[in-house]
Every structure is written in structure tokens, then in C-alpha cells.
């Protein structure tokens, strides 16, 4: 039994003693160790680590629900946590939305975690930063290298008792040249999978290709979005579209069973191996297919949002899911099928007559090594299939203008290029866009999908998306740097 599971079990026992045998309680204890080495101006300027155990209790007694947490995990702190919750439960209004506790349910089988990553020290992260900086060949660099480890234990008064552990590494960096930034970013289950030099080389190649950027007029453009840009689509779809609370409150575009996306689009949440194998309510996590060949098939639920619509929890409860909604945090957009046939290209009149080259996006087809040119390896086949449009590396500061249609405004970042007849012909300055994300992925709108999906970290923490490049029929660019 892990320390965290022991803590959770002890709090459950305390609750039985202080709140009475009729009380329902669920407790999750998570030990989280995060270490992040940050660099800017090609030097490590912030280097941090913390190791914290947080115990969270949700208590339902006499029809009333309260929650609380503490980082004070010795006996006095746990006693105080339970006492505060019991006292608060006498004072809050009734909770008619309470759905009860997760019954005993076994965990799904999930991959193990890398012990070496969990134990990685500051010198290992610093070494990867050094490699990135050196590989950028004198260009100014900035970014981070991060390792995270979490060990969690869950127990409730209904008898659900489970535990799990996870670890992850991530690296994200830019190289800068004369006002142009090039970026490379990866998440991985093992720190040893992260090659600082390869990422630095890629970032520098993009920065060098970004010189003398020209301004283009606003308008609708055909685009190839690199995986890093596609990750933002997944993030906003997860937070505002597939959010079970938003769905239950009719604030989401999602219609279960409807063909809302291009048939080439399949999106699933794949949490196993990426995060703890259970959610805050003790529901075991599992793969959840949200979009299947363009048809919306599911949204993410906790027990509360699920009960509102007569569904079952999908294991997406969090500390804030009752008020902000249950959000899937490990979305994966499926890459093009391995047989090289891109269903979206069939019969759509795209210029991707070289569809066979898209079978393996990591091979440039033109023999260019991965470090050369602005285009990420996984996007090159799609770029070759574009007659005239923009190659976009990254999207930034994206915000919702209208939640129902999920119209998002934001900016491009870290490199935009004009593509003509399949060739990059000019660097372009950053542009503002205003675009409905579901519409951009709608039926007939996806001209191609890359053959390789890349695991990408969220730049804050706790979220990982896996995305291929996308070739889209249109993207609405509404402004540029000069306004």
C-alpha cells in the first residue's frame, strides 16, 4: 500500500468516526513532484522543483456536500481537514445534485511509468538544455525541460480502494533570429526519449527560415497546421465542446450521433499512461472515443454531469469539475491510416496527388534531413499537397468569442510561411485569426492528415495532446501585426 493510499484510507476512517456511519466520503491523496528547468537568452535563469502531497476530501452527510483539501498530511492536519468538513456540512444548503459514490470498480490495465524519469535530477534536465542551446548554433534560445511524477491513492466509504503512479517528461524551446522565432516541443513518458539537440536543431531551422517575413492581407486561406497548432484545436474542443457540463447545459456544439466533423477526423481521450489511472471520484480512466470518423460519439463526464443527461461517468472528475465541467486532458487526433489512403483526400480534388508519400510523414520525401527548412517532418507531405496557402506552426492566446459555435480568436506564433505549388516561398508575419474550430474540421473541410501523431505538452502542466499535422480547406485570418 502506498503512502498516499494509506493517507486516503486514514481520512476515510476519520470521517466515519467524526461524521457518523451514514456519511459518504471520498478521499484522494496525491504526491506530486514537479521539476522544471527554464532557460532564456540561452542561459538557465529559473530552475525549480517542489514535492507536495495534497489530501482532498469530499463529504456528503445529511444531504449536504462539502469539499476540502490540505497539504498538512500529518495527523493533526488530517484531523483538521475532516473537522472543517464536518462543521461546514452543517451550514451549507442541501445538495440535490449529489449522485453518490463510485462503487468498487477495478482499474483498467495501464502502462507502467519510468522510474528514472520520476527520479531525474537537475543536472539531467540542465544537460538537455545545454544540448538544445548548443544545437541552435549561436541563435538566442529559450524554453524549458520538465519532469513530473505523481503517486495517488483513492478510497471511499463505498469500498473503492485504488492507487497508481505516473511520470512524464517534456521539453519546449524556441530559437530566435532577427525577430523570427522557431519552436520545437515534445512530451514523452521517459526523459531519455527527449533529445535536446534534435529539438534545438529543429527550432533553429525554423528561426532561420523565418527571416524577412512579409505581411499578407487578411482573408480566408487554405492552411497546413503543424501538430503544435492542432494541439490548440484539441484543447479548445476539450474545454468547451466535449465538456460534459457544457453539454448538459446546452452551451456546447456537440450533438451525439451527428456527423459534425470530416470523416477523416477521429479524436479520443487516452489517459492511461499519461496521468493517474483514476479520477477524483475514483472512477477508473479509460480510452474515450469522442469523435469516430467524423461522428460525435461522446463527451467527458464526471458523476454529476453524467447524471444530468442519464449517462455514466467517463472518469473526468476534478477538483473543479462540478463548477467548470469535466475536461478531457489527453486528447489524441488519429493520424492518417497506415495504409497510406487518406480518406479525406479521396474525391475531394485536393492537390495531394502524392498521397503515397503521406504514408510516412516523417520521411521528407525530398531527402531533406529533419533539421532543414521550416516545415516539421510530419507536415511535409501535406505542404507538398497545398497549391496556395499558409503553413502555421503554433497558435497563441486563443480565446472563445462564442461558445456554442466555438468561434475562437487568437494569433499565430513561432513561424508562418506562404506555400505555393507545394513549396515554401516566403516567411509571413504573425496574423490574427477568428475561426470556428468545429467548422474548420467540418465535413469536407479536412484535405489531409499527417501520418504521424506527435505527443505535445501543455506549456503549463498536467495536459498532454497527441496530434498529427492537418491540411484544412480554410482558416479565417482577420488581421496582422500592423492591425
Amino acid at each position: 500500500m502506498s503512502t498516499e493510499l494509506d493517507l486516503a484510507a486514514r481520512v476515510v476512517e476519520l470521517t466515519r468516526r467524526l461524521a457518523g456511519p451514514g456519511a459518504e466520503a471520498e478521499v484522494i491523496a496525491v504526491h506530486s513532484a514537479e521539476a522544471l528547468t527554464r532557460f532564456a537568452n540561452s542561459a538557465i535563469h529559473q530552475n525549480v522543483a517542489d514535492a507536495t502531497t495534497t489530501v482532498r476530501l469530499r463529504l456528503h452527510v445529511d444531504g449536504r456536500t462539502v469539499a476540502g483539501s490540505t497539504t498538512v498530511s500529518e495527523a493533526a492536519g488530517l484531523q483538521s481537514l475532516v473537522e472543517r468538513a464536518v462543521e461546514a456540512s452543517r451550514l451549507v444548503p442541501p445538495d440535490p445534485a449529489w449522485t453518490g459514490l463510485t462503487p468498487p470498480t477495478p482499474l483498467r490495465s495501464s502502462p507502467g511509468f519510468d522510474e528514472a524519469t520520476a527520479a531525474a535530477g537537475p543536472h539531467e534536465r540542465a544537460a538537455r538544455v545545454r544540448d538544445f542551446v548548443r544545437a541552435a548554433g549561436g541563435l538566442e534560445t529559450a524554453g524549458f525541460c520538465r519532469t513530473t511524477y505523481a503517486s495517488g491513492g483513492f478510497a471511499n466509504t463505498a469500498g473503492q480502494i485504488i492507487e497508481g503512479r505516473t511520470a512524464e517528461a517534456a521539453m519546449d524551446g524556441i530559437a530566435r533570429l532577427d525577430g523570427a522565432d522557431g519552436m520545437a516541443r515534445r512530451a514523452a513518458p521517459r526523459l531519455t526519449d527527449l533529445d535536446g539537440a534534435a529539438l534545438g536543431t529543429r527550432a533553429a531551422a525554423k528561426a532561420r527560415a523565418g527571416a524577412r517575413a512579409r505581411e499578407l492581407p487578411p482573408g480566408r486561406y487554405e492552411v497546413v497546421l503543424e501538430p503544435t497548432a492542432v494541439a490548440d484545436l484539441l484543447d479548445n474542443l476539450a474545454v468547451f465542446g466535449f465538456n460534459g457540463r457544457a453539454f448538459a447545459q446546452h452551451q456546447s456544439f456537440a450533438e451525439l450521433g451527428a456527423q459534425q466533423f470530416d470523416e477523416a477526423v477521429t479524436i479520443a481521450d487516452e489517459p492511461l499512461g499519461a496521468t493517474l489511472p483514476f479520477d477524483l471520484e475514483g472512477t477508473p480512466r479509460d480510452t474515450l472515443v469522442l469523435v469516430d470518423n467524423g461522428r460525435t460519439t461522446a463527451v467527458s463526464h464526471d458523476r454529476t454531469s453524467a447524471a444530468e443527461v442519464g449517462a455514466a461517468s467517463t472518469g473526468h472528475a476534478s477538483a473543479v469539475s462540478r463548477s467548470w465541467g469535466p475536461i478531457a486532458s489527453n486528447l489524441r487526433l488519429a493520424p492518417a491510416p497506415a495504409n497510406g489512403t487518406l480518406a479525406s483526400q479521396a474525391g475531394k480534388g485536393s492537390q495531394a496527388g502524392n498521397g503515397s508519400q503521406a504514408r510516412n510523414g516523417s520521411q521528407a520525401g525530398n531527402g531533406a534531413p529533419d533539421g532543414a527548412g521550416p516545415t516539421a517532418a510530419s507536415a511535409r507531405a501535406l505542404v507538398r499537397g497545398m497549391r496556395r496557402g499558409l503553413l502555421i506552426t503554433d497558435l497563441w492566446y486563443t480565446r472563445v468569442l462564442d461558445q456554442k459555435s466555438l468561434v475562437i480568436t487568437g494569433l499565430t506564433r513561432n513561424g508562418v510561411w506562404l506555400v505555393e505549388d507545394g513549396e515554401v516561398t516566403a516567411a509571413v508575419g504573425n496574423m490574427r485569426f477568428t475561426q470556428s474550430y468545429p467548422q474548420a474540421l467540418g465535413p469536407g473541410a479536412v484535405l489531409g492528415i499527417g501520418a504521424e501523431a506527435i505527443a505535445l505538452p501543455d506549456r503549463w502542466s498536467g495536459v498532454r495532446y497527441t496530434a498529427p499535422a492537418l491540411h484544412l480547406k480554410f482558416w479565417n485570418l482577420t488581421g496582422n501585426a500592423s492591425g
Binding site: E34, T37, R38, A40, N41, A43, I44, Q46, N47, A49, D50, V66, A67, G68, S69, T70, T71, V72, S73, G77, L81, R84, A88, L91, P93, D95, P96, A97, P122, H123, A127, V129, A142, F144, G173, R176, D181, Q249, Q251, A319, R322, S323, W396, Y397, R399, L401, D402, Q403, K404, V407, T409, L411, R413, N430, R432, S461, N476, N480, A481, G483
Partner: protein, 480 residues
């Protein structure tokens, strides 16, 4: 203060020095937070959280390290100090330029924010009943969805540095707000009181009582429903009048972040971004019109960004950032100020004991102008008035922005006319601020409780004194 943790902080600092640091500081923080949300007349969620720990910063040579643990025992504090120094030593693998720290009068001090009614001690039943009543009133008035929220933070901190600082502070913050949503054909309109996040300050529950949530709930529902059938905000260039709350966010995004010295120096380049400001032009750059005077002022009583001392021990001092349109100041920390050749700091805070202190806005806001909102409207022949933020987006240099508001009105021949829905506007920072030609005197210090910055993520609390103002030749009605 009955309990103090100077000893633990001091132990951590000494351990870092013993491990080779030439400077070290430590923050012990005890924080209680409480959040309640309600929906449609029922409490939806209540969470009461407690956090305690120590975070240590160590400077070894010219490399920083930081380590934090939730354990205030002597052994843990000592180990944290050593770990911080070890991490700093590892940073030297990719070294930067020499690090200096501008001096900031060290010594012992104690400070507490003003508080008439301790928000934690207000009975949960009273707080719950308030949100229930306010959201029920909005539903009864026709809202399809009514939501309410309050948040409370009660933070005690003890700061010790190897320069001789020994400072304790007790900061209480709280705030609340409600939102009424109306569903139309494929769209949702929303009206919020007093703003889309609520209003927050370093005050007690008296602040929430003053907001009169229930009294304004029905009007919010009425306006949300009216917006569903209001005409769209027209597209084009026009004269734009912004309400004070929206202008507060405009200040936050296009001035406050732009003058953060760490951004100007490139320290946030890979994530939050840089700044279009160049230190070579500090003192000479024309940022805005003559009406634009913006101060950095953590001394404003009750404003959300106020404190006695920042998290490096620098005392709160009011400074100019923009004076009559000219850029004259930045938000700085001790190391960034030294690197930039400045002699002041005072704008460094951390989001709790487990996070590295970094340059953050305090209260960044406008000095009052000579007009009133009524005068501004009366003086406008053809324009749009917009208020209460709904969306915000700005580029990584803090230059190209686009904002959406909840509600707008036509202004024709000096009068407020038809309500407008989905009002948006876009622009480039300095060009926008240079077009400000009228500014009200009706200043409110709006609180922004959700400023995101840093890796790992930190959420900062900032304040923005702002008042209604008029801007000319602004592009409005941006749509997808």
C-alpha cells in the same frame, strides 16, 4: 500574530548559504482558501482548502535554484535550503551573465491588509444564501442559466533573506460575482455583475456586501435576454467609448504585461512572450495621449494588487509607469532591475510557497481624467459604447489585441441608442492609446484574480484603477 515561522524560514536560508549560496531567501506561507459556486438557486460546489509550506531561493554564483516542500519541520527546512543550492549549482551548466541584486532596505516589518469583516468567519449559510438568492433572482427574471461565485484567500507569510529581511504579512482577499445567460438560436448571450469575473480586493467580506449581487440579478437577466435580439455591432472604424471594467482589462493586457521588465529582458520569450517596449526608449517613448498617466501602486488601500512588501522584501511604493503619455517606468525585481541599470524593484510575488517569486503586476492603472461618462457620451456624435469583458486575446509582444464585450450601445448625436450584441474591437497598443481623447474621473480599482504567468503555472492577483474613456478611429465588429 500568535504563531510565527521566521525560524523555519531562517533555517532554510542558512542551509542554502551553508551549501554554497551567496544569497538566499525563503518564504513560509499558510494559506486558507474558500470557494463556493451556485447555479440556478442551488449551491453547486463548496471547497475549503489549506496549504502550508516553505519555498527557498538560492543564488550560487550567478545561477538561481528554487525548492519547496509542505513540511515546516526544522529538518525539512534545512533540506529545502540545501536542495535549492544544489539546483542552483546545476543551473551553472548553462550559465548566464553575472547576477546582481538592487538593494532594498532590509529589516524587520509587519503588515496586514485592511479587513472589517473576516471573510472566513462569515457563516457558510450566510454566504450560501447570498449566492442562492442572487442566482434564483436571475432565473426568476428569465435567465436560462444563472451562476454565482465567491472566492476567499487568507494568506499569512513570513519572509527571511540573507540580506537581513524579516517580514511578516497577513493578506486577506475576497470577491464575488454573478452571471446570467440567455440561450438563443445557436448562440448564448451573457451579462455579468459587477463584471465577468466578479470584483475582488484585499478587503474583507464588506466588499462582497457592497456588490449588491441580488439587487442587480434581474437586470442582468433582462439584458442577457435583450441581447439575443439586439442588432449586431456594426463592422468598421468608429469612435469607441469603453466602460471602466473593460478598460481595466485593456490596461492589464496592453500596458501591465508590456511593462514587466522580465518580459522586456526576454526572460519569458518562450511562453508568455516578450514586449514591444525597448529599454533604450524608456523615458522618451510616446505610449499614449497626454491623458494617459498610468501608475504602479501597491499602496492603494483595498485594491487587489496591494501589499506592504513584495515577496523579495521590497516595500510597497507608488511609481509612474506612463506620465502624460510618455513611458517612464517598469515593473521590476531586484535582479532584473540590476540587469537593466535601474535602481528600484518592488514588483515580485509568488503564487504560494511552492512557486518561484517573479515579476508581477501590482495595481497598474490610470490616474483620473477631467471628464465624466455622461460628458463623454454627450460629446460623441457617432460611435459605440462597450463594457464588461467577454473575451480577450493579444499577441506575444503585447501589441495586437482583440477584445469582445458583453454589451454595447450605439452612440448617436450625443445620446445612448440601441443595444448592440457581440461587440468586439481590435487594435495595436500604442496607436490605440494615442487615440484616447477623453477620460473620466470616475475611477474604480478593478481586481483581476486570474492573471496567468510562469512555468510551472502561477495565478496572480492584480488591480487596475480605470474609468470610462473615449478612443478614435478604432476597428469594431470583428467577426469570424
Amino acid at each position: 500574530m500568535s504563531v510565527d515561522h521566521f525560524d523555519e524560514a531562517g533555517t532554510a536560508v542558512q542551509a542554502a548559504l551553508d551549501a554554497g549560496a551567496r544569497y538566499a531567501d525563503a518564504r513560509v506561507m499558510l494559506r486558507r482558501t474558500e470557494t463556493m459556486s451556485a447555479r440556478d438557486g442551488e449551491v453547486e460546489d463548496l471547497s475549503s482548502d489549506e496549504s502550508a509550506g516553505v519555498g527557498v531561493r538560492a543564488l550560487v554564483g550567478s545561477s538561481w535554484g528554487f525548492y519547496a516542500v509542505p513540511d515546516l519541520s526544522d529538518g525539512a527546512a534545512r533540506a529545502a535550503g540545501r536542495r535549492a543550492a544544489e539546483i542552483a549549482a546545476a543551473s551553472a551548466l548553462v550559465p548566464g551573465p553575472a547576477v546582481d541584486l538592487v538593494p532594498t532596505g532590509a529589516g524587520s516589518a509587519s503588515w496586514a491588509s485592511e479587513c472589517t469583516i473576516d471573510p472566513i468567519s462569515v457563516p457558510l449559510s450566510v454566504k450560501g444564501d447570498l449566492l442562492v438568492a442572487a442566482t434564483a433572482a436571475a432565473r426568476d427574471a428569465g435567465a436560462d442559466l444563472a451562476e454565482g461565485l465567491y472566492q476567499i484567500w487568507d494568506t499569512r507569510k513570513w519572509f527571511v533573506s540573507s540580506d537581513g529581511h524579516r517580514i511578516d504579512q497577513h493578506i486577506r482577499e475576497c470577491g464575488a460575482g454573478i452571471t446570467a445567460s440567455a440561450y438563443g438560436d445557436g448562440e448564448i448571450q451573457r451579462r455579468s455583475w459587477p463584471s465577468h469575473r466578479g470584483q475582488y480586493g484585499t478587503r474583507g467580506w464588506e466588499l462582497v456586501d457592497e456588490l449588491a449581487l441580488t439587487d442587480n440579478a434581474a437586470r442582468m437577466a433582462d439584458e442577457a435576454r435583450a441581447l439575443l435580439t439586439a442588432p449586431l455591432c456594426p463592422s468598421g472604424e468608429t469612435t469607441l467609448i469603453l466602460g471602466g471594467e473593460q478598460l481595466a482589462l485593456q490596461i492589464h493586457e496592453s500596458v501591465g504585461h508590456a511593462i514587466e521588465l522580465d518580459r522586456i529582458l526576454g526572460w519569458e520569450a518562450a511562453f508568455a512572450g516578450t514586449s514591444w517596449l525597448d529599454l533604450d526608449r524608456l523615458g522618451t517613448l510616446r505610449y499614449g495621449s497626454d491623458l494617459m498617466t498610468i501608475t504602479i501602486d501597491p499602496t492603494i488601500p483595498g485594491a487587489l494588487g496591494s501589499f506592504g512588501y513584495d515577496d523579495e522584501g521590497s516595500p510597497a511604493v507608488k511609481r509612474d509607469a506612463v506620465r502624460n503619455g510618455r513611458w517612464v517606468g517598469v515593473l521590476a525585481g531586484r535582479d532584473s532591475a540590476a540587469m537593466a541599470g535601474l535602481d528600484y524593484a518592488g514588483s515580485v510575488r509568488s503564487d504560494g510557497w511552492a512557486r518561484l517569486p517573479m515579476v508581477r503586476m501590482t495595481n497598474v492603472g490610470l490616474e483620473p481624467g477631467p471628464h465624466t461618462l455622461d460628458e463623454i457620451i454627450a460629446a460623441t456624435d457617432d460611435g459605440v459604447l462597450m463594457d464588461i469583458n467577454r473575451s480577450w486575446s493579444i499577441d506575444d509582444r503585447r501589441l495586437n489585441f482583440q477584445f469582445g464585450c458583453e454589451i454595447g450601445w450605439e452612440i448617436k448625436k450625443g445620446r445612448r441608442g440601441r443595444m448592440l450584441r457581440n461587440p468586439t474591437y481590435t487594435g495595436i497598443g500604442p496607436k490605440f492609446w494615442q487615440s484616447m481623447d477623453m477620460l473620466s474621473s470616475e475611477i474604480v480599482a478593478w481586481g483581476t484574480p486570474n492573471c496567468g504567468k510562469g512555468q510551472p503555472a502561477q495565478v496572480g492577483h492584480t488591480g487596475h484603477p480605470a474609468a470610462p474613456a473615449r478612443f478614435t478611429n478604432v476597428r469594431v465588429g470583428v467577426r469570424g
